[in-house]
Amino acid sequence: MRLVVAVATLAMLTTADIGQSAGDAKSFVPGRLWDGKTPDFRGIWQVRDTAYLNIEGHAAERGIAASKSIVVDPPDGKIPYKPEALVARQEHYRTRATADPSVRCYQAGVPRATYLATPLQILQSPGNFAIVYQENHAFRVFHPDTRPHFDNTDWWMGDTRYHWEGDTLVADVVAQTDEAWLDQSGNFHSTDVHIVERYQMTGADALEYEARIEDPVVYRRPWTLRTVLYRVKQPGARIVEDECLEDANGVRHHIAPTDPRNLLKSDYTRWKR
């Protein structure tokens, strides 16, 4: 009896494992664009977890729910840093309140932009694919990988080339600055980072995102993170403008367009200040 339970448990574990693996052939078939061919990923999407705080997982903090690691490989959920890189990461963590480029309203980079606490919108038409990220109005135009990377400089959002593997969009990303972080905890990469992203709809309102991250300068081996974006379905939902304003000390703060502080009213006393 005990053996049966053990076998059954093992079988369940194995099933669960397969269910989470990237190679799993998902059964969902997305709709098509008007060319009748291209999978239709259009819409506003957002993650529902708080991995933006720390992709390796974190305990709950005031106002922020706990999160499991979204690192799926290695299996321990830890980024396989080289020892000296881990030291740099810990230094980032100590100084994150000011050192995080996000604090200065910089574009988030790849893959960080994907799992922020703010939504993104996929724009698509036959032959065109772009993602607009609400945070700091960053965007990426995905170019077909029939042409080589434009990688003679370092961008915040990298240079992206893509192709379709069935209904999965596979994107190759290089040319990113080493100033970008992977989350609010100071996880990072160098300018040598090479990312392979996979976007796959696993339901009408679920978009699985996977990034395989390779960077021989910083990591002992390539590693992979995986998360799920959900369709934002509120009526009238849209990407709103996100711009930072400087305060009196020159420090920038995100001010939502719905915040009256963003409105500068025209009165002539103000003009004559």
């Binding site: 109005h137 135009v141 170019h143 711009e243 719905t258 009256p260």
Partner: protein, 265 residues
């Protein structure tokens, strides 16, 4: 296009004109396909204005701007007396130009960038026309779904709602936050600005752009702007601007203190 064709159409080339119109690329919904990578034609920092010109364009002329001498002159904006005084005051503080601080440019400045420098990528479907600007990595996703402007929303780029009038995309822009300038020369608008833009694909490789700006607390009559966008060859691509992340713009402003100090650093 129609107007230009008509006199000829009566006599000779009716079929040619019809052909030219039907040859516009279109989406399945029948509307002109504005998609592609576009660039404002070379010139100064201002569009070609309809109206009287006073020739004080220090951005495109006189004061060592990049397009010195080649751009069209700045128009004499029809300011109210108070706004004219404000503009003169701001002109002395050119380094306050919000774009020099990497803020979103607003409308129509989003498109009225230095000609030949910053392209815009257009992606379009049956529900929206999206403008992805290289400059300031500015994004405008313009719904064409008869939706209304929101309330209690004040943005640098305002809120854009589009509709098709025949083959012309007409965009109504309001909900501005009152912080934007129209150009480097301190011409400005406030939160009462309203813009009607017209995008007309006149041939496969040309978009005629028109903007009519009204702002009753700044201008005594509407201001009109018009310029063309030309298609950029497909092998080119939009690049990243990342202004804020590597701010270098303020040093180009030669106002007494701001510019010089920064250059000496």
């Amino acid at each position: 296009m129609m107007r230009r064709c008509l006199p000829f159409a009566v006599f000779v080339t009716a079929t040619l004109c019809v052909f030219a119109q039907s040859a516009l690329p279109r989406l399945p919904d029948g509307h002109p396909d504005l998609q592609g990578l576009w660039m404002k034609s070379a010139g100064g920092f201002q569009g070609l204005f309809i109206g009287s010109l006073d020739g004080t364009n220090f951005a495109a002329g006189g004061r060592g701007g990049r397009g010195a001498g080649r751009g069209p002159a700045v128009p004499e904006y029809p300011y109210t007396p108070e706004a004219a005084a404000e503009r003169a005051d701001r002109l002395r503080r050119g380094y306050e130009d919000p774009e020099a601080h990497c803020h979103l440019p607003g409308v129509p400045r989003a498109l009225d960038q230095p000609g030949g420098l910053y392209p815009v990528q257009i992606i379009q479907d049956e529900k929206s026309v999206a403008l992805l600007h290289e400059a300031m990595h500015d994004v405008r996703i313009i719904p064409t779904d008869n939706s209304a402007h929101p309330r209690n929303y004040w943005a640098w780029d305002g809120d854009s709602r589009g509709r098709w009038e025949g083959d012309t995309l007409v965009v109504d822009v309001s909900n501005f936050n009152g912080r934007t300038w129209l150009d480097m020369a301190a011409n400005f608008v406030d939160e009462n600005e309203r813009v009607v833009e017209r995008f007309s694909l006149v041939d496969r490789d040309t978009i005629q752009y028109e903007a009519t700006i009204t702002d009753p607390t700044v201008f005594v009559r509407p201001v009109q702007m018009r310029f063309t966008l030309k298609r950029v060859p497909a092998e080119q691509q939009i690049l990243e601007y990342s202004c804020l992340e590597g701010e270098r713009s303020l040093q180009h402003y030669t106002a007494e203190d701001g510019g010089k100090k920064r250059r000496e650093q």
